[in-house]
C-alpha cells in the first residue's frame, strides 16, 4: 500500500477544532508551537509512509508466530521498531519531567493516526506502551518509575495491559488472577490472561506487563483489584516466571501478537504493586480512557487509509460509460454513484477525526487544570471510541466496494483494511459497553452540565451559520439533528426504567456521533470560509472543507432524526419474544 499523511488536513483540525495554538499558551504545552507541530507531522508522515506502510501487507501475510514461548514478528518489524525508537517517537506526548517531549496528547494523536493508517497492527504496539507509560507516570512509586518508566519513554522497552481472562471480558471485576505478598515487599502473581496485545515479541529487550490481580483477602468485584507490574526480564537479568502460551488466530491485525499469557506457572512470577492495594481499577481507567480515544483514532486512521486507497483506484480504473451518457467508458471516479461512496468515506473520516482530536485536546486541557475540560473529555470518550470505530468498519467496507471483484481478492489490500478495522468496535470495551457508559455515567455527570455546555456550543455554531449568507444552508440540518438529540437526551434523563435506558443506548450514541460530526464539520466550514476570504491557505483545500460539511449535513445528518424512535421506544419490544422462540 501507499499512504500519504494528510498533514494539511490534520494541521487544520488541530488548529481549528483542537485549538493547539491555545494549548501552546498553557504551561505544559509550550513546546507545541506551529512550526514544531508542522515539523513533527512532516517527519512522522515520512516514518509512516516509508517504514510502516511497506510492512502492512507483509505483516498481514506473515503474521506473528509463536514457538516455545518466543514470538517472532514478521520480517522487517524489529528493524522498523528500531527506527521508531531512534527517532524518539515514544516520548512525544510524555511530560518532560518523565523524559518526554511534553507535547499535547492532541499532537501525539495526530502522529499516532499516521502510524496507524500505515500499519494498524504495528502501531498497536506503540499505543499499548503509551498506556503503560501513563499508568506508571500517574500511579507508580518513584522507585518503580526510575526502574521502568525511562526505558518505556525511550521506547527501548514496550508495555502491555493485562485485564481479560476467559470468564472476565467486559466484566473485569470477575477476574481471578491472584497476587500474594512476598517478604521482600514484592508480590507473586499467578493466573492466566487472554487477548494480551503485543504480550510477547522480539523487537525489544524487555516487556513491562501491567497486570490486574486480586490479593488473597480482597473483596469481590472491581474494588478487590490491584495493579501489578510484572517485567518479562527481572532487574537482575533473570527471566521472570511468565510466558506466552498461545497466539490467537484472528480475522485481522495479524502482525499484532494477541497472546495468552501465563503468570506464575512455577509460583515465581514477581510483580510490583502500582499504586495502592485495591486501587487497580482506578489506575487501569487512567490508561483505559486515553486508550479508548486512541482506539477511536484507529477507526479514523483506517478510514483515512482505506479512502486514499479507493480514491487512487477510482482515478485509474476505467469501466463502463456514464449513466445516461455517451458510450465511452470512463474512469469510475466519474460515475456519480462511486463519487457518492468516496464522498461518504471522506465526510465520515473527517468528522470522526475532528471528534477524536477535540476529545484529545479536552484531555490536554484537563491535565492543565481545566476541570470542565476533563468533564467534556469524559463525555466525548465513549462517543469517540464507539462511533469512530463503527465508522472505520463502515468506510473500510465502502472503500472495498469501490474495487468491485478486486476488493474481495486479498492481494489488493482493501480487504485487509476491513479485517483490521473490525477489531476496534470490540476491544477496549465493546461499543455496546461504550454506549452504556455514555447513557449510564457520562450524561449525568456533574448534573448534566457537560452535555448542556456541548449543546450550547453547537447552538453558537448554529447562530454563526444562520448569520452567514454562504453557509446558512447548513443550519436547518444541524438544527434538526440538535433538536432530536437534545430531546433524546432529555428522554433518557427522565426515564426511570434501567432497561429502557439500556435499550436506547446504542442508537443514542450514534445520534451523538452524527450530530457532533456535523457540528465539527460546520465549524470547519466557517473557519475555512474565513481563511479563504482572508487569502490564507490553499483555496482548493478550503473549498473542499465547505463542500464536505455540506455533504455531511444534507446526506448524513438526516439519520439523526431516524434514531429518535429507536432511542425512546423502550425495552419492552426487545424482550417480547422469548429466547426459546428467538433461537427457534
Amino acid at each position: 500500500m501507499t499512504y500519504t499523511a494528510p498533514a494539511a488536513e490534520q494541521r487544520f483540525v488541530l488548529d481549528v477544532i483542537a485549538d493547539v495554538p491555545g494549548l501552546a499558551a498553557l504551561p505544559p504545552y509550550a513546546n507545541a508551537t506551529p512550526d514544531m507541530v508542522d515539523a513533527i507531522l512532516a517527519e512522522s508522515g515520512k516514518l509512516a509512509s516509508n517504514v510502516f506502510a511497506p510492512l502492512n501487507a507483509v505483516g498481514d501475510k506473515a503474521g506473528a508466530r509463536l514457538a516455545d514461548g518466543v514470538v517472532t514478528l514478521p520480517p522487517g518489524f524489529a528493524d522498523a521498531y528500531g527506527l521508531y525508537v531512534a527517532g524518539g517517537w515514544a516520548g512525544l506526548g510524555v511530560a518532560e519531567a518523565h523524559g518526554g517531549q511534553g507535547l499535547p496528547f492532541a499532537v501525539a494523536v495526530a502522529v499516532q493516526e499516521q502510524l496507524t493508517s500505515a500499519n494498524m497492527a504495528f502501531a498497536l504496539c506503540m499505543m499499548l506502551s503509551q498506556g503503560a507509560i501513563e499508568a506508571l507516570a500517574a500511579h507508580a512509586s518513584p522507585e518503580l518509575q526510575d526502574r521502568y518508566l525511562a526505558r518505556l519513554v525511550s521506547g527501548e522497552w514496550t508495555g502491555t495491559m493485562n485485564l481479560t481472562e476467559p470468564s472476565a471480558g467486559s466484566d473485569v471485576g470477575a477476574l481471578k488472577t491472584r497476587a500474594v505478598p512476598h517478604a521482600d515487599g514484592s508480590y507473586r502473581i499467578k493466573g492466566t490472561k487472554i487477548y494480551i496485545t503485543w504480550g510477547e515479541h522480539d523487537a525489544a529487550d524487555n516487556i513491562v506487563h501491567l497486570v490486574l490481580a486480586r490479593l488473597p483477602d480482597a473483596p469481590a468485584g472491581t474494588k478487590g483489584i490491584s495493579l501489578f507490574l510484572c517485567p518479562k526480564i527481572l532487574p537482575d537479568g533473570a527471566r521472570n516466571d511468565l510466558i506466552c502460551t498461545g497466539l490467537e488466530h484472528k480475522l485481522g491485525i495479524h502482525a499484532s501478537p494477541t497472546c495468552t499469557m501465563s503468570f506464575g506457572d512455577n509460583d515465581n512470577c514477581v510483580g510490583y504493586l502500582v499504586g495502592a492495594e485495591g486501587a487497580g481499577m482506578r489506575a487501569m481507567f487512567t490508561m483505559m480512557n486515553n486508550a479508548r480515544v486512541q482506539v477511536g483514532l484507529q477507526g479514523v486512521a483506517i478510514a483515512e487509509a482505506a479512502t486514499q486507497h479507493a480514491v487512487a483506484f477510482a482515478r485509474q480504473r476505467v469501466q463502463s460509460a456514464k449513466f445516461g451518457g455517451s458510450r465511452e467508458a470512463v474512469r469510475i471516479i466519474d460515475h456519480a454513484d462511486v463519487r457518492r461512496t468516496l464522498m461518504t468515506c471522506r465526510a465520515l473520516t473527517e468528522a470522526t477525526r475532528a471528534l477524536v482530536y477535540l476529545n484529545a485536546a479536552a484531555v490536554d486541557r484537563g491535565h492543565a487544570g481545566d476541570a470542565a475540560a476533563t468533564g467534556l473529555a469524559d463525555l466525548l470518550t465513549p462517543i469517540s471510541k464507539a462511533w469512530a470505530t463503527d465508522v472505520g468498519v463502515e468506510v473500510a467496507s465502502l472503500a472495498l466496494q469501490v474495487f468491485g471483484g478486486m476488493g474481495y481478492v486479498e492481494e489488493t489490500g482493501a480487504a485487509q483494511f476491513l479485517r483490521d478495522a473490525r477489531i476496534a468496535p470490540i476491544y477496549e470495551g465493546t461499543n455496546g459497553i461504550q454506549a452504556l457508559d455514555l447513557v449510564g455515567r457520562k450524561l449525568g455527570m456533574d448534573g448534566g452540565t457537560h452535555w448542556q455546555e456541548l449543546f450550547a456550543q453547537i447552538g453558537d455554531t448554529l447562530h454563526d451559520l444562520n448569520a452567514n449568507a454562504e453557509l446558512a444552508g447548513l443550519a436547518p440540518w444541524l438544527d434538526d439533528a440538535l433538536t432530536a438529540t437534545r430531546a433524546a437526551t432529555l428522554w433518557l434523563a427522565a426515564a426511570n426504567n434501567a432497561d429502557d435506558v439500556a435499550a436506547g443506548a446504542t442508537p443514542y450514541l450514534r445520534m451523538m456521533g452524527l450530530t457532533l460530526g456535523g457540528w465539527l464539520l460546520a465549524k470547519q466550514a466557517l473557519a475555512a470560509q474565513k481563511q479563504r476570504d482572508a487569502g490564507i491557505g490553499d483555496a482548493a483545500f478550503l473549498a473542499a472543507k465547505i463542500t464536505t460539511a455540506r455533504f455531511f449535513a444534507e446526506q448524513l445528518l438526516p439519520q439523526v432524526g431516524a434514531l429518535s424512535a429507536p432511542v425512546t421506544r423502550g425495552a419492552a419490544t426487545l424482550f417480547a419474544i422469548s429466547e426459546a422462540t428467538l433461537a427457534a
Copy 2:
C-alpha cells in the same frame, strides 16, 4: 457450526408472501402441494444440517487448492456433492420436460437458502449449475440440450458462467474473448476469463462452461457478444483445450474455487453456440436475473446462520450484571443492548427473506404466463440482490459483535460469516450497478405501472392495518415510509439530469428495500394474527411475527425518511471537489 433450518418460518413466508398454494393451482407447479413442500424442506434441512454445515469451517480452513490445472476441493466436499446428486436435489426447480421435478423457483429458493446458510461456498456450486440449466433450457438447441442438459439436471455435471475479463467487469460489453467458426459447425474459443466461480474442481466428471465471446466480425459492445458452451470433457472423452491457470486468494468463500480460466491456449478449444449469434447477452441475462435473486438469497442465508449462531452464544455466555440491576452476572441475552442487536438481526433477516421469496414467486408467475408478475419480478430483482446482500453483511457484522473478543478469533466461526457475506454485494453486478438498474431501467418499465401497482398493494396493507385495533400502531410508520418512497420515486421520474438520477440511486434502493421489508413484515403480522385468532399454528411463533413487524416498523422504518435528502439532492455536491483534492 450447527445450523437448524427455520422450516416453520420458511413455510410461513412461502404461504403468506409467496402464495405457494396459489402457485400450486397453476399448471406448471401442480407438484407444489403443502405436504410436498413440507417434506422437501424437512429433507433439505437435514442435508444442510448434517452434510453441508459440518464442512463449512473445514472448507474455510483448507480452501480449494490448485496444482497443474487440477483443483482439489477441501476434504469431504466431493463426497457431500455425491449425496446432493443422489438426493436428486439438482433438478428440484427444473421443469419436468427437462427431467426435473417441476417445483416453483420459490420452493427451490427455500431449499437453496438452507444449503447456503449451512455452507455458502459449497452452495455456490449448485447456484451456478442452476444458472447453466436455465440458460440451456431456454436457448440451447435440442441437440445441445440432449447432450448436456440432462447431466446438469441430474447433478452429475456442474455448470459455470464465464463473463468477466480483466478489463471487462461491470462493463461486460468490453470483453475480448474470440470465437471463430469451425468447419464442423462448432467454434474455436480463445481468451482468458477471471473470477470464474467453481470453474474447475474434482467433484464432478465434467464441467459445462458457458462462455461469452465475440465472433471476428461482431460489432462492438454487448450486441456483438455470443454465448458458447465449452465442455471440460468433449463428447469423445478427450479433454477440451481449456484450463484453470489460477485461483484467487479471497477474503472468504475459500472452499469455492474462483478460477482464472484460459480457453484455447493451443487454439483448439471447442465451443458450441447457444442461441443465435449476437444474442449472448440476452441469454446471459436469462440466467443472470435469477442468479441475482439467488445472490440476494445468500444475504438472507448468511444473516439467518449468523443470527442463529449469535443467539445460541448469547443464551449461554454469562457476563456482567444487568445495567442498573443487581450485581449478579447474567447471560448476555438478558442485556437490553444485546437483545437490540439480536432483534435487529432477526428483523432484517425475516424482511429480506420475505422480499426474496416474493421475488422468486413473481418469477414463477411470470413463467406461468402472468406478464405483470414478470414486470414485478424485474422491478424487485435489483432490490433483492442489493438490499439483501447489504443486510447479509450488516447482520454478519452485528452477530460477530455479540461474541465480543471471541468474535474476532477465527475458530469461533462468526468472522467467517462476515468474510463470506462480503462477496455478495459485489458479484453478479455490484450493488451500485443494481441501484442504477433500478432507477435507470426498472422504475420506468411499462410506464411505471409496476412500482405503482406495488405501492398500491402497500396501500392495501395500510388500509388493513388501520382497520385493525391490535396492529394499527404499525400503520403510521409504514405510511411515512411509503410517502417518502413515493415522493422519491416521483422525483427520480421527473429528474432530467442523468447524473442527478445516478447520484440518488443507491440511497433510493435502500429506501425501497426498507419500505418493502416493513410492508412484508406487516403483511405477515396480519396473517399471523388471523391464524392465531383461528387457533391455527404455533402461538409463540405467531406472536413473534407480530413483535418482529412492530420492531421493524418502529426501529428501522424511520431510516427511510432519512434517505429522502440523499436521493433528491442531486449530483452537484458529489462532484464539487476536484479529484486531485479528493486524492490529496
